[in-house]
Symmetry: C2
Subunit: 189 residues, 2 copies
DNA sequence: GATATATCCTAATGCAATTAGGTATCTACA
DNA sequence: TGTAGATACCTAATTGCATTAGGATATATC
């Protein structure tokens, strides 16, 4: 039998695709083996187990998200940067629903430390430099923005906004306007 | 063999407890059967299948959350009501991590319509009456708040805030202050 | 061309989900 | 109180995923 040329990277890449197509929760080693027309046990030469694969997909997702964020923010500042960063999250969630789910996969502390999550946090911090906040307020603002960047796409893709008018799009840009104003006036009560 | 007296309600209640103890994703019919010292197949007299159980737990969670919201908001208005509603979400997420996860379980349209989710949305709307918004802006604000009420506890319980100072608590109250100010000045640019 | 590595395999085990069909227990009514 | 029917719980069987042990062979290196 000829060898198909599997590798850890090819597996993770294909797993990411499967997650986007069928949902991260439906991602199984068995499905991945079928995708490569290979026996399930063969995957264990490349990944430790199912959790190892999912962790790798999660790290891939966070890294991808952080890449996009860095690219989007480069050369922008103030509200312009804020909107760009926000749209990275929302667009990522729409284009890669499985990876967006994966990004919320529970990581152990060591994985989390080297993940794109930390980089994303730094990028958000950089965006906030346009708003003249104290260090502490900057942390608060990162957390507020992070919550919104996560929560809105989650609710939107869950369909929570699809049963009422107006379009989610309008709420998105209106909310970003409001958050921009909020950040500009953060120091005030 | 004596009968143990199972019922759909007892199963859902126990499933909710198991979800809180071990995580909603670890909730299985097999674990539930073990909990009642009953054979796995016996559960099928009371629930249709695994998905049916999880859906019921999700509806239970949403209903519980909506109950708490209604209770917390009663007799309050303005910022007082806003903070009370926000804390309902955060406290629920901390006291019932499994149920909070369950509340994000994908529901079909008909289940979603009768779920506590719709009620929660109405309660949020009621809280916003203290802020003199147009109907459209009210919808935008509901979505913004909903995103934050979901996103912050998710990130907090994922440990995303535990590797930096200050405490999440401070960011929470600071963010609520900011959101209150935002809502009061919503009409302004 | 020989050898070593690693890739992919077969085989076996355990656990979760589901279905079919049986038995015994509870309940309600005569 | 005794019996009939409903149903609560069971056994048994099938399927699918995860995991491990150990074997065979394609491929790379020398």
């Amino acid at each position: 039998m000829p060898r198909i040329g599997l590798s850890r990277d090819r597996l993770v890449e294909a797993a990411a695709k499967l997650a986007d197509e069928h949902g991260f929760d439906k991602l199984t080693l068995a499905a991945l083996a079928r995708h490569f027309a290979v026996k399930l046990a063969s995957l264990y030469s490349h990944v430790k187990n199912s959790d190892d694969l999912k962790t790798s997909v999660a790290l891939f997702a966070l890294s991808e998200l952080a890449d996009r964020a860095d690219e989007a923010v480069a050369g922008r500042a103030g509200k312009d940067a804020l909107v760009a960063l926000a749209n990275v999250h929302r667009n990522f969630a729409r284009e890669h629903p499985g990876l967006f789910e994966a990004a919320r996969f529970r990581l152990d502390a060591t994985s989390a430390a080297v993940s794109g999550g930390a980089r994303l946090s730094r990028t958000t911090q950089a965006v906030l430099r346009g708003y003249a906040l104290t260090d502490t307020d900057c942390t608060h603002a990162i957390r507020l923005l992070g919550s919104f960047f996560l929560g809105f796409p989650v609710l939107e893709s869950a369909g929570s906004f699809s049963h009422s008018q107006p379009e989610a799009e309008a709420s998105w840009s209106r909310s970003l306007n409001a958050l921009d104003a909020l950040l500009r006036g953060w120091a005030l009560p």
